[in-house]
């Protein structure tokens, strides 16, 4: 019984943010000391799907940005990490890939800002895209470095011993074997890009308005209802991905 109660408290602590954000996203006027908003409206949600709405452009651009970055970073990371994984000094090279995370992406952005300004990429979607690729690609390399192990190398050798080419080994053996890993890496890199705020705001100089930038903007304007709605839009795609992961990917595995 005590175990159930404690687990229930944990569950409540985890679910509370989702509930609060959903409630605020459909609320209007929340004066103290009311526990719930005084008025309810789905107008902001409807606005998301209406033409010229406050958030639909940000939502669309953020989706395109994160999906394209996830695809490119995963593809490049998959192919190039093989070289690093089989290098005798693998750990030293991988250390380079860890830095953008350990030193904070926003600090990296501060150090790189000058180059983006000089090259005219500051304040542009293309600049933010490139900057985000500089943090998602190293992650993909780290992710796949464990995948390229002795077993994979033996598989490749087996195919070439049996007369197959490297391309055949890649297409017929390695690629099918790595489909789950590719999908997981795609999800992870999508999330890194989707969640990124500091680097985006610094390189995008406020002109590139992804959803996290919008959340901060609404918080600064003290518009908690729109901030909550933008927050919901931020956690919904990862929730769907998580559900797909659990339902489909893990079941397959």
């Amino acid at each position: 019984m005590r175990r159930r109660i404690l687990q229930g408290i944990w569950g409540l602590i985890w679910v509370l943010p989702f509930l609060l954000l959903l409630v605020l996203s459909i609320g209007r006027q929340w004066p103290f000391p009311a526990l719930l908003p005084r008025q309810w409206s789905l107008a902001y949600w409807a606005d998301v799907f209406a033409r010229g709405g406050n958030l639909n452009e940000s939502l669309l651009f953020s989706l395109v940005l994160s999906l394209s970055i996830a695809a490119i970073a995963t593809g490049l990371g998959y192919v190039t990490s093989r070289q690093i994984a089989y290098h005798p000094k693998k750990e030293r090279w991988l250390l380079l890939a860890y830095f953008p995370y350990a030193m904070a992406p926003v600090i990296l952005a501060a150090c790189l800002q000058h180059y983006f300004l000089v090259l005219g990429w500051s304040g542009k979607w293309s600049g933010v895209w490139l900057a985000q690729l500089c943090i998602t690609y190293p992650f993909a390399v780290i992710f796949f470095s464990g995948f390229w192990n002795q077993r994979m190398q033996s598989m490749e050798h087996l195919v070439t011993t049996l007369g197959g080419t490297y391309w055949q080994a890649f297409r017929k053996v390695l690629l099918p074997m790595s489909s789950s890993a590719l999908l997981v890496c795609f999800f992870q890199t999508f999330l890194i890009s989707w969640f990124e705020y500091g680097l985006t705001s610094l390189i995008g100089v406020g002109k590139v308005q992804t959803l996290p930038v919008k959340v901060f903007q609404y918080v600064q304007e003290a518009n908690i209802f729109l901030a909550a709605l933008a927050g919901c839009l931020l956690f919904l795609p990862p929730l769907i991905l998580w559900w797909m992961n659990k339902r489909w990917l893990f079941r397959q595995g």
Binding site: P17, L21, A102, M103, A104, L112, I224, F235, P238, L239
Partner: protein
């Protein structure tokens, strides 16, 4: 792999992973030493001296370390407790699903939610008023934008607990701690002793490199302290970016000096962690060898 493809792979890695780091560090270092920038007058250590002698910088460093240590300690405690007590529930049931939920929320949203939960006008303040614990909005304590970083610590702990739970649970399985616990019990250890002397030391030792890395991540975090922090003390990333964005151009070299200092700190810790990781691996290999030789 064919040679052109091999070369192309290295080129991509160098351009996308190594070059941005080296170019960024190079520029920041040069700017902080007065070698470049709008007001540069030749090589000088004046900006570094200004940072070293600035109490706000040391306060900021101390505050970042304090927040990271507190959040990591709290998250480690709660995660260890949950995994050791409920490790069977992680395999199936609602807990195995729910533990992933907080991982789908970005730091910016966690900061926003924590503000709406812990601020004077937030949900907890309203509940406390309804229950008669406080008689007005201002009577509720300062839990966000406070000098002790309570809001920042709560937000980071909330984010870290599920991640650590998954980490400890996976280690629990991979290290075969269930069997180790049974062996300890059959040798006469009580449940408390098994937890204190077997589970906790093994889990902490195996997880320590990741705990250190997560600590660095918290120290360098930006979104949460930006929303929930104060003007003084500030977390290190917020201090660096605010200095960079000020109108006073004399602050820019100092912003880069702060950034370079943080980078050097991170590099040092990473090298230390990777070195210790190697030693641990070697030690464990030796341990296995010794066991084999003994048997």
């Amino acid at each position: 792999m064919k040679k052109p493809l091999r070369l192309l792979s290295w080129a991509v890695f160098l351009v996308l992973a190594a070059l941005p780091l080296l170019a960024g560090w190079g520029y920041a270092g040069a700017y902080s030493l007065g070698m470049t920038g709008l007001l540069h007058k030749g090589v000088t250590l004046a900006h570094w001296q200004a940072v070293w002698s600035d109490a706000a910088f040391w306060k900021s460093m101390g505050f970042s370390v304090y927040v990271a240590l507190t959040a990591i300690s709290l998250a480690t405690f709660f995660a260890l407790l949950s995994v050791v007590a409920w490790q069977r529930d992680f395999r199936r049931g609602w807990l195995s699903y729910a533990v992933y939920l907080p991982l789908t929320v970005p730091a910016m949203v966690v900061g926003f939610f924590t503000f709406n939960l812990l601020s004077k006008g937030g949900l907890l303040s309203r509940i406390s008023y309804r229950l008669g614990f406080t008689d007005s909005l201002v009577a509720f304590p300062d839990w966000v934008n406070d000098p002790f970083g309570i809001g920042i610590i709560v937000a980071h702990t909330w984010m870290a607990v599920p991640f650590f739970m998954l980490l400890f649970y996976n280690l629990f399985q991979s290290e075969g701690l269930v069997s180790l616990g049974q062996v300890a019990r059959s040798l006469g250890a009580g449940s408390g002793q098994v937890v204190r002397k077997v589970f906790v030391p093994v889990l902490l030792r195996k997880a320590s490199p990741i705990l250190v890395l997560y600590g660095l991540f918290v120290m360098g975090s930006y979104e949460i302290p930006l929303l929930l922090g104060t003007q003084s003390p500030q977390m290190i990333s917020v201090l660096a970016i605010r200095k960079l964005q000020r109108f006073n151009l004399m602050d820019v070299p100092q912003a880069y000096a702060v950034s370079v200092f943080f980078v050097v700190l991170v590099v040092g810790v990473l090298v230390l962690v990777s070195g210790r990781g190697k030693r641990w691996r070697l030690k464990s290999k030796d341990g296995v060898l010794n066991q084999k030789m003994a048997s």
